[in-house]
Symmetry: C2
Subunit: 214 residues, 2 copies
């Protein structure tokens, strides 16, 4: 197959790619890389992606890493249906929402960081959860305020069209739920999440549906 | 003035914006926000940016946050000289390099995270530096490998034209140097850094030149 995705069911950044590919109707051959088993540090995977991170997309023989860059690549290479708006202001807004999640929330809470807290500081389960909750609350608070003030949200983050922003939001809400952080205090985020989950591209790619889920 | 930048001399993400604006010859009125004095948590600043993060750009009366989103906005609103290549593959490469730094390195090492390590885990200076060095080494190793394998670098990250990738790389090298992490082990990164610093847009906006530097 011309397209291959290296994914782990619980990885938020892999989930972003699964949604984007499904939304655009792009088929792919999945390769399952277990983060708990450290398969991303195996020589074979490291040869494909020296960063040793998920996801990795191979499209038409080329390798692509960093999920937000990949989503914009997919949108430029396969424009329909679009995941980015056509106007400058709209694109800026979508990138900002995506980066609030992708640069401020997710990097502090992914598995390698939680593991390192344990290694370096001996963080136990309670301390890890406290760390996680702190950054989730800080991030969702700032994101909810941003969305409310921008007044551009509708059914989704930007009006009534799905964009990259929604593709970042939904996996972050799933990730938070796994650490018992709900979004009940954030009505815009919660509403967008629920409406996205009514769409096949989101529902059918969620972690629990994946063949590598356990 | 039609353009205002909220900046702190030592903030890597503010430095990114200072470079981008200088490279494009766009004037602005600077507003200095001291992170050590917690001025980013003051009510006045929070009203402008609910995320309480730097930088903030006001352009033609609109507020823009998240530095990578702002750089792409500036490049779309003020296209010359370009900071993004015209081809899909080139843009994907530039965004990937930018996100390796912006999503994997900087978020783990900025001031608010180092402060929180102290608050939650009582991290002393040595522990903070160990944390910092760990993520810098992991990040620069992966970035150097990525640049080497992609074989697209020249004087700068992408051939001989300055792009958003260089604007992310240079402040990260400055930041690392402040924590005594050198880039001597990463020859491509080091070479790009040195050639960028020969350019006015980088040299004249570096932290030590800023009026709020101390």
């Amino acid at each position: 197959m011309q397209r291959q995705l290296y994914t782990f069911f619980r990885s938020s950044t892999s989930f972003r790619l699964r949604i984007a590919l499904a939304y655009k109707g792009l088929d792919y051959e999945p390769h399952y890389v277990s983060l708990p088993k450290m398969e991303h540090h195996a020589a074979g995977y490291q040869a494909l992606n020296p960063q040793r991170l998920l996801p990795l997309l191979i499209d038409r023989g080329r390798r692509y890493t960093q999920s937000l860059a990949i989503i914009e690549y997919l949108d430029e290479a396969y424009p329909e249906p679009p995941l980015m708006p056509r106007d400058i202001e709209g694109r800026s807004y979508v990138r900002t929402v995506s980066q609030i999640i992708g640069c401020e929330m997710h990097p502090l809470n992914n598995v390698r960081v939680l593991k390192h807290l344990k290694t370096q500081f001996g963080a136990d389960d309670a301390a890890t959860r406290a760390w996680y909750s702190h950054w989730i609350a800080e991030g969702f608070r700032g994101l909810e305020d941003y969305l409310r003030e921008a007044r551009r949200h509708g059914a989704y983050c930007l009006g009534d069209s799905v964009t990259m922003a929604d593709i970042c939001l939904v996996p972050q809400v799933f990730n938070a739920a796994r650490f018992d952080c709900s979004v009940d205090d954030y009505p815009i985020i919660k509403g967008v999440f629920e409406r996205c989950m009514a769409l096949g591209a989101f529902r059918d790619t969620q972690p629990s549906t994946q063949p590598d889920a356990f």
